[in-house]
């Protein structure tokens, strides 16, 4: 007969009581389904001695969230909104005046602005395209090679190939500037070794090739990121799948195309969007290699360098806050539409494989 109802309910529910009082996550199946009134009273009676002071507002949640939310909002979100707002204003006679979309009309239509804006936008797309066509395939290929089973020195290769990603743009930019410089002669010398000396030209100095050269430098620096993410995705492919493929005679090259590639597609999607955001936000490498004017003759100018010159001014050009905010807004819209396209169009269609 012995056990009183009250201690039974106490024993069964008191971990849950703590959950409820502190608002922690309780899995749905574990939440008490209290139907009978009698049970509710017993639970209430048990908790009566300490329940009263615990039911107050849970200030600790606020304390935990506040610092991050405050810093993030004050330094990141509000300035972003303020920048978007500033793009609708311009200075007339020393006064800030609302001009609607006037700044955008100037940027897209005024001959002085439009030429450099469209040039920067086109260069930025070329910059992105080269990354997508060179960096990501090389990254996937290296990852595929690295995930060959029982590969020796794998850790060494990984560590070495990821090193450039960690170097700052300043280092990368100047190293390559020196190597490609015709004065030093390292690259003509190296090309001579493989009999291609006649192909050498000062690529960084020619308007036709400078953008490609800078993009390839950036590819050299960042190939480690797709390599690592794809490598991780390939490690996550379970052995059973690959063994099943081998039993069916799908090995080597066709195994990569038919089994591995479809399984790593979600990671390729993530890499594409990371590349997109990174490229349309790039600035440092071009600034280091070609200067703020992004020469020769603006041929390596991208949105980031255009924003810097417009907003901050350079040499004879005076900094223009409103137009700077306008260009930043355009960059924001481009990046936002890319991210939205990824989230709504691409990621939804992609099948998630659960093992």
């Amino acid at each position: 007969m012995g056990v009183p109802a009250i201690s039974l309910s106490e024993a069964r529910y008191w971990p849950l009581r703590y959950h409820l009082e502190n608002g922690s996550r309780v899995p749905r199946y574990a939440r008490p389904k209290i139907k009978s009134r009698a049970l509710m009273t017993t639970v209430a009676e048990v908790s009566i001695d300490r329940g009263a002071d615990k039911r107050q507002r849970r200030w600790h949640i606020l304390v935990f969230l506040a610092p991050a939310v405050l810093v993030y909002t004050a330094v990141m979100i509000l300035p972003l909104i303020e920048t978007l707002r500033l793009s609708l204003f311009n200075v007339k006679d020393g006064q800030s005046v609302f001009v609607g979309f006037g700044n955008f009309q100037v940027l897209f239509g005024d001959p002085r602005w439009a030429a450099s804006f469209w040039n920067a936008l086109r260069n930025n797309f070329v910059f992105f395209l080269i990354h997508m066509l060179v960096q990501n395939p090389i990254g996937v290929a290296l990852a595929a090679l690295l995930s060959v089973p029982k590969l020796r020195f794998g850790a060494f290769y990984r560590t070495a190939m990821f090193l450039p990603t960690l170097l700052s743009f300043v280092i990368v930019g100047f190293i390559w500037k020196l190597i490609l410089s015709p004065i030093w002669g390292v690259s003509p010398y190296l090309m001579d070794l493989v009999g291609l000396k006649s192909m050498f030209s000062p690529w960084l100095g020619k308007p036709g090739t400078a953008l490609i050269a800078v993009s390839l430098i950036s590819v050299w620096q960042y190939v480690g990121i797709p390599m690592m993410l794809i490598y991780a995705a390939m490690l996550n492919i379970p052995d059973e799948v690959l063994e099943a493929a081998e039993c069916d005679g799908v090995t080597g090259w066709s195994q990569f195309w038919k089994i591995k590639l479809p399984l790593i597609l979600p990671s390729i999607g993530i890499i594409s969007i990371l590349t997109f955001v990174g490229n349309f936000n790039a600035f440092d490498l071009i600034y280091t290699v070609q200067g703020a004017l992004a020469g020769p003759d603006g041929s390596t100018d991208i949105l980031g360098t255009l924003l810097y010159r417009t907003f901050f001014g350079f040499q004879l050009q005076i900094g223009d806050k409103s137009m700077g905010a306008t260009i930043a807004t355009v960059m924001f819209l481009i990046i936002l539409s890319g991210v939205c396209l990824y989230l709504f169009a691409i990621q939804r269609r992609m099948r998630r494989y659960q093992f």
Partner: protein, 279 residues
């Protein structure tokens, strides 16, 4: 099931390809480092040769250490990076704990709001950030950089740490609650020690972009007293562009700390990436 053993030819080709790319990745760094220890004539005469006793020279390093204020720049970079990482980890972990542990109104919305910054670069708000820093009198201070980098690092930190904190056992936390620990002690004494590996990963991810950033030092803190190493070497190399010894020495000095840190933390970093922390 035994795997079919790969043919030696195929293994050889794999090593050839990986080796070639490793060479491409390391060669420029190697070239810079060896030439920084050579005298000017042999830099040009024999760029690929290792420094020998007859060509060895430290003239570049003398110029760099005599002309540039590199010790100060290193100190600035170090302060900015260390303090920013500290705040990113502390604030990020606190927010991640709140998001993963408690059910409250707007939990999901708050998570999404904080995740917004992973995709939208903070750089786009530069115009207003500079305006705000001018108004607050923080231009040309390290505080300005620390604030910006803390805000920049938080979204990814909160995201990664939330995922990790979900895996901390509820029983442990409830046991703590039964023993009368406050929510704060549960966070600091039970949860934080358990997510230390994730914190290390976040620290490495946060550190790299901060140490290497050129944009914000250039705009918010370009004064001599507040230059970071990245901006300092950019300016120095710009001025000494024809003095090859000095340029190569400055580059080597800038690479060195990254190289040392990488060799120490590379296992942590690579494990962090491959364990799916950023997926």
């Amino acid at each position: 099931m035994a795997k079919p053993t790969a043919s030696p030819l195929r293994t050889g080709l794999v090593h050839l390809a990986l080796g070639t790319y490793t060479l491409i990745a390391l060669f420029p760094v190697f070239l810079t480092v060896i030439n920084s220890f050579k005298d000017r004539a042999s830099i040009f005469r024999d760029p690929l040769g290792l420094p020998t006793p007859s060509t060895f020279s430290l003239v570049g390093y003398n110029t760099v250490l005599g002309q540039g204020d590199f010790v100060l720049y290193f100190q600035n970079s170090f302060i900015v990076t260390a303090v920013s990482i500290f705040f990113v980890l502390l604030f990020g972990a606190m927010a991640a704990f709140a998001l993963s542990e408690y059910r409250f109104k707007g939990n999901t919305m708050m998570g999404l709001y904080l995740a917004l910054g992973i995709m939208i670069p903070i750089r786009l708000g530069t115009v207003a950030i500079l305006q705000g820093m001018v108004a607050a009198g923080l231009v040309n201070t390290l505080t300005a950089l620390i604030l910006v980098y803390t805000a920049q690092g938080l979204p990814l930190a909160v995201f990664i740490l939330t995922e990790f904190m979900r895996t901390v056992s509820d029983d442990l936390k409830n046991a703590g609650r039964i023993d009368g620990l406050s929510e704060y002690s549960i966070f600091f004494r039970l949860v934080l020690p358990l997510v230390r590996p994730a914190m290390a990963t976040v620290a490495v991810f946060t550190m790299i972009p901060i140490w290497n950033d050129l944009w914000f030092p250039l705009i918010l803190a370009p004064s001599d007293a507040t230059k970071t190493v990245t901006l300092g070497s950019q300016v120095f190399i710009g001025q000494f562009v024809t003095n090859w010894n000095a340029v190569l020495a400055a580059l080597t000095l800038a690479i060195l700390p990254v190289l040392v840190l990488y060799l120490v933390f590379s296992r942590q970093l690579i494990r962090g990436i491959t364990s799916g922390a950023v997926k």
